[in-house]
Each structure stands twice: as C-alpha cells, then as structure tokens.
Amino acid sequence: MKMTPKAVVIGSLLILATIVFVVVFLPYATRIQLPSDIFRDRTAHEADGRAIYIANGCVYCHSQSIRSIDWGLGAERIAQAGDYIQDKPILLGSERTGPDLSQEGGEHPDDWHTAHFINPRYTRPLSIMPAFAFLGMDDIKTLTTYAQGLGLKHADKRIQRQRFWKEKAVRAYESGPEGNVKWLHENVPEGWRNLPNPYPTTEAGLARGHKIYQDFCLGCHSPIGDGMGPAQPHLNPPPLNFTILKDRGVSGGILYYQIMNGITGTAMPYFKRELESEKIWDVGNYVAVYFINQTDADTEPKGIDAAYEP
C-alpha cells in the first residue's frame, strides 16, 4: 500500500466517520427518552445547585451511577437510563472516593448538609472531602437543594419523611430535657426499650467503643459527649447531650436501636450499614459508661452467655 498524504488524512477521516456513526450516532438515535418511574423535572433552584456541583468538581469523587453490581453493596435501586433524561451533562463520575449520590436526597435533613458542607469533618470525622464554607451560606443552601433532589421522586418521599419527623423532634427538644428524653424513648419499639446490653463491660469493649465514637460520633456529640461538637451550631435540634440521659430510663437496647436506625428528622444518621452489631453495642456502652455514667451492660435478661466472654 502506498501511503500518500491523501490516503493518510482522508483514509483516517473516513474510518473515524464510520466508527462515529456506529458507536456514537446509532446509540444516540436509539436512545431511551422515556422517563423512569422515579423521574421528575428538576426545579430551577436544584438546577442552580447542580451548576455549583459542576463548578467545584464534585463529580471527580462522587459517582451518580448505581451500578448493576451494586445490589450487594446495599443499593436500594439500580440506575436506569430514564433517570438521566434531563442531565446535561450527565454526571456519572469515574471515581468513588466519596459515596455515590444518585439517591442522596433525603438521606439527611438540610441542617446536616449545612454542617457537612461547612466542613465535612463536622459530621463525618474521617471524611477527606474539602470544606466548602468558602462558597458562602447562599450557595451552600442552593447546593443542598440539589443534593436533596438526587433520587428525584424517591428523594421527595424521603424529604417529606425528614420534614415530618423534624417538626416533632424540634418540638420535643424545645419542651426541655425531660420531654425530649421521653419523646426519644417513646419512639423506640418497646422490645428494644426493655432490652439491656447483653454483653459485659470490658476494657477491650470500651476501647473499641472509644475508637468508633471518635470515627463516627464526636463531630456532633463532642469528645466529652455534651453535644457541643463543631457541628452543633448548625443543627436544629442540636445533638443530644448524653449526660441528661442519666436516671431517665435509658437502656442498652435504646442506645443500640437509635445508633442502628438513626433518628430521622434530626442530624442523627443510621449506622446499620457502616457498623457491625458488636461495634454498635460497644459504642453504646462506651457512651453509657463514660458520658451517662450508668450502664446496664451484662444485666438480666441476657439469655445464653456469649461464648467469648472471659
């Protein structure tokens, strides 16, 4: 074959044109334009938030692409083409240094996002996300609106749930410590309320609890458990001061349930995906021993003794 300038340039362009037709144009021409079951239009305010998301390169650490292989990772829903039909550009992402955000909306209430954007370590002590206080409160609010819309109709349902419970949680907080603790305990299913921590207090268990507390809790509840962590000024209701729980009927089961399930409407997230059972018991007992100064660990009824107990 004789390689003339024409052969090189025109030949290459012809090859490229053919391939563009196959791998770009055909998928475009046969694209799915039907909305998925969770689709709704984005609001103007959400679109503004999305622009801030793009400008600050959030996409480099956060995917918006729950993959077909993510079922096993606790995903509630796998992404469908119909979820993206208004995304311009699409923000699938290429790395997951932070969590996937496709269904982020409503996971947390707005005030959690405010604290988290001001400095992510306020709510997530191990986070390596940059602080976004430099954006200013207006942009943080706008960005929050976008984050709270991720997941579209599913997000809206979760947001409604957050609002419903936030109103009750704020009212309980404003009624004073007595009323607040009563409300918190009332909303734990009865079986859990009456359940003491079935495991004994041990040095190893407290050390584990201490580590978990540092990695997950102290941004809100503070190193001494008084609820005055750096996130506190931004949260309403504010984080619980554990010391008020003393002699107010708290149990190991209540602590376990609330760490596992979170308290929707408040900034308290659920930890059932991040912490195994033992770690939840241990951090609950750490709080009970050091901050409440009252633990029911290893009291009856505790059933069959655990095999590892010394």
């Binding site: 770009v24 694209r31 292989i69 083409a81 550009p89 996937d100 430099f134």
Partner: protein
C-alpha cells in the same frame, strides 16, 4: 544540519517553543497533581481557598498533563522530525511560533477558568466553549503547518512517523470538537446516556488518537535513528497504523459497562478492547525487533532510553487495559484507584516518557550543542521510572482494597482510613515527579538559552 542547502540553517523555533512549553507545563501540571494528592491526605490544608479546592485542582492537573506537558513534548519532536523526514524545511516557522503562543495562551485560560470554577463538568472536556475553540484552532494551525510541509516535501515517500502525526492531529481536531459538543456552546454536552457515550468515546480517543499516534511517531523516528538500523517491517507499521485507528476508536464504552447503555455497544467495546492487543503488538514488535541486539546504542542515548522505556510501559498499560475491559475484572477495578494507576502508567509512563525522550533526543539537534546536562536528564529518567512504578504499585493496592471492600459490602466511608497510608505514599511519589519536572525544565532552559557547550 539539513540536506536542504537552499537557505540558512533552520532555526527550529517551533520545536524549541514546544520544548519549553512542555517543560514549563510539566512543572505546573505535576505540582497540581502533588497538591491534589496532598489535599486527599490533609483536606483542610487549603481550607476556604476556593480556587484550590480538590475538584478544581484535579481537572487542572489532568488537562495540563494531557495538553500542557505530553502533547507539546510530542509535538516538539514532530516539528523536528517531520521536515527532516521529508527533506525539506518546516512550512512556516512564523506560523509555528504563533501556534506555540496560541497554545500557551490556551493553557493559561484553561488554568484560570477551571480555578475560577468555569467547568462543563465532563472529564477531559471541562473547558468552556471559547477555550475549546482556541484548542481546536491550535490543532488546526499545527495541522496546516504539517500538511503544508508534507506538500512541499522533496522526499516522495512518507515515513510512518509522518502518517501518525498527521492522522493524530487531524483526528484529534475532529474528535475534540465532537467530544466537546462545540455546536452547543452553553452546555458543551448532549443529554443523558448518549452524553456519557460520546464523552467516553472522546475521552478514550485523547489517548487513542492523540497521545498514542504522536508517541508512536516519535518512537518510529527515534529508535531506528538511535540504533542506526532500518525499521524492522514496513508491513507491520502499515498494519499497526490502520488497525490502531479502527480498533482504538471503538472502545470508549468500556468505561460504561455497568451503566444502562445498549448491550451491543458494550460488547463492541469489550471485544475491541481485547483486540487492542493487535495494533499494540504490531507496533511494539516492529520497534523491539528494530532495536534487537542494539540495546547498547539505546542505553547510550538518553532520548532513546526514555523512548524505549516508554514502549515497555506501553506494553504493560495496554495489556492491563485489555484486561480491565473484561466485566469480571471490572467488578473489582471500576470506580477506584486501580484506574488512576492505569492512567499514570499510560500518560506518564508511556506517552510522558516518550514525550520527554523525543524532546531530549532532538534538543542537541535543534540547538546544535550537546544537551546541557546528560546527568540531569538521566537523573530525571530514574525519578520518573521510580515514580511511575511507585504510583502503579501504591494506587493498584488502594484500588484493590476499595474494589474488594465494596464487593464485600463495606461502605465507602469505612474504607477511607485503610487508604490513608497509601495516599501519603502517593503524595510523596508525587513530590518525586514534581522534583523531576523542575530538573527537566532547568535542563531544557539551559540547553536552549544558556548552553555553554561547544557548537557541534
């Protein structure tokens, strides 16, 4: 210098300009990489400095590496070897210098606009429309200069390096325009899933139609010259050239295997990713057989040493890339630092090494004096070699930790502490690469401007 005796000695102003461009922006680009890596271990280091937030630093790093360091480095050699191979002079040094200036102006606007948060949010296509146009213009100017040089050639036969650089530039101008959706200036994107398909078609072609052909062009020039041996096979170079264009352009969708894109497109991308072995090995066998028994000559020339090492990196990164397109492998490697490791082998180890190799090979030839310091260049070679291998090992480990932990049902947050020590190591390797860039820039500057060496 040239066989063309009709005029004075060529000045190689364009080649020198691109050498300086590459050296300078390599320093900036690697600094941005180092800064980003440092922010991942100390996120509050640059707290409240908006224009240095990680999400702005990362695209600056990536785009500067691609368009500031590697591409200009490869172009500097092209502006030397294309006229030489065609036994003529560059069509217009004046146009070449204008291109260099336009190129650098575009790079400044890239840095400023991304730092200010003007981004279109699509990887490798972040730049806003006016900058896209500037980049397309720069590629067009390069193409005009090269094709006019081809037109005025005195050597009837086009050597393989010339095919690669001409095709690479013209195809990149087209895919860059397509990928940046330049007919939609406001968003620079399509809507929904087709946008992802187009983006990764373009994104992968930055490597497939720009870095790879230009690197292949340099390797096809430098290796036979340094070995003083004829190219092993003309047929293989033909085969490698056309198969590269056909196969590489099909594979972008392997970035989207777990995304709702049409299954037939995924199948094409996987099959062609595996088929990449064909163009890769056609090129490598050709180069390696040319160099067979001549490794001493390659070792003796610092430029050829860089280039030859780059070809070895090309082997590894391509075989790895073919494997990563397999769905079972991608279950573990997708979305994590394994891919970042792969990118560093490809862009720093393969294209970056060859870019520097071509640059050091031509520097003595365009200045007429020996390289300012062979030692510094050699030192830079070892820093980069150690750095690339270090990046690969460390980031691959992190990637395996992340990928396997996710498959094991652990949340992203839980894995952050496990990654920390590797991120610290990665940042320290980044310091090595940044240091090497400073040495490189110093060496280039001294070689061009303040070279005490005898005129050879």
């Amino acid at each position: 210098m040239t066989t063309n005796a009709t005029s004075a000695l060529p000045t190689y102003m364009t080649a020198k300009g691109f050498c300086l461009t590459s050296g300078f922006w390599m320093m900036v680009a690697t600094f941005m990489g180092l800064l980003g890596a440092t922010e991942l271990i100390a996120p509050d280091l640059t707290e409240n400095i908006g224009w240095l937030v990680f999400g702005r630093v990362r695209p600056i790093h990536v785009n500067l590496v691609l368009f500031g360091f590697v591409t200009p480095g490869l172009l500097s050699s092209a502006f030397y070897y294309v006229p030489r191979l065609l036994r003529t002079e560059l069509y217009s040094e004046k146009l070449g210098v204008i291109t260099v200036l336009a190129w650098n102006f575009a790079l400044v606007t890239v840095v400023v606009s991304l730092a200010m948060g003007y981004s279109q949010g699509r990887e490798y296509a972040e730049m806003i429309w006016p900058i896209d146009m500037l980049i397309v213009l720069a590629f067009t100017l390069v193409f005009i200069n090269l094709i006019m040089t081809v037109a005025q050639r005195k050597e009837p036969i086009l050597y393989v390096s010339v095919w690669y650089v001409c095709a690479g530039i013209v195809l990149t101008a087209v895919t860059f325009s397509l990928g940046n959706v330049i007919w939609k200036p406001n968003s620079g994107s399509l809507v929904g899933i087709p946008d992802a398909i187009l983006l990764w078609f373009y994104g992968h072609n930055v490597f497939g139609l720009l870095l790879t052909p230009l690197s292949a062009g340099v390797a096809y020039y430098v290796i036979p010259r340094a070995c003083r041996a004829p190219l092993y096979s003309h047929t293989l170079s033909l085969f490698g050239f056309w198969s590269l264009l056909v196969v590489y352009t099909h594979i972008g969708t392997h970035h989207l295997l777990q995304v709702p894109v049409p299954t037939w497109l995924k199948v094409i991308s996987i099959v062609d990713s595996v088929a990449m072995v064909i163009p890769v090995m056609a090129f490598l066998i050709n180069i390696w057989y040319t160099a067979k028994g001549k490794l001493g000559e390659i070792h003796a020339d610092i430029g050829a040493k860089f280039v030859f090492t780059g070809t070895i990196m090309y082997f590894f990164v391509s075989i790895q890339g073919s494997m990563m397109a397999l769905p079972d492998v991608q279950r573990v490697t997708h979305f994590n630092n394994w891919v970042v490791a792969h990118a560093h082998v490809g862009v720093l180890g393969f294209a970056g090494m060859i870019s520097l190799g071509g640059l050091y090979y031509i520097l003595p030839r365009i200045t007429g004096k020996p390289l300012y310091s062979r030692f510094l260049a050699d030192f830079q070679y070892w820093l980069i070699l150690i750095g690339v291998i270090g990046f690969t090992v460390v980031l691959t480990i992190v990637g395996l930790i992340q990928g396997n932990a996710w498959l094991n049902g652990e949340t992203v947050y839980r894995i952050l502490p496990e990654m920390h020590v590797y991120y610290v190591t990665r940042a320290s390797i980044g310091l090595i690469i940044f240091s090497s860039a400073i040495l490189g820039l110093y060496n280039i500057l001294r070689s061009i401007f303040f070279n005490p060496g005898e005129i050879s």
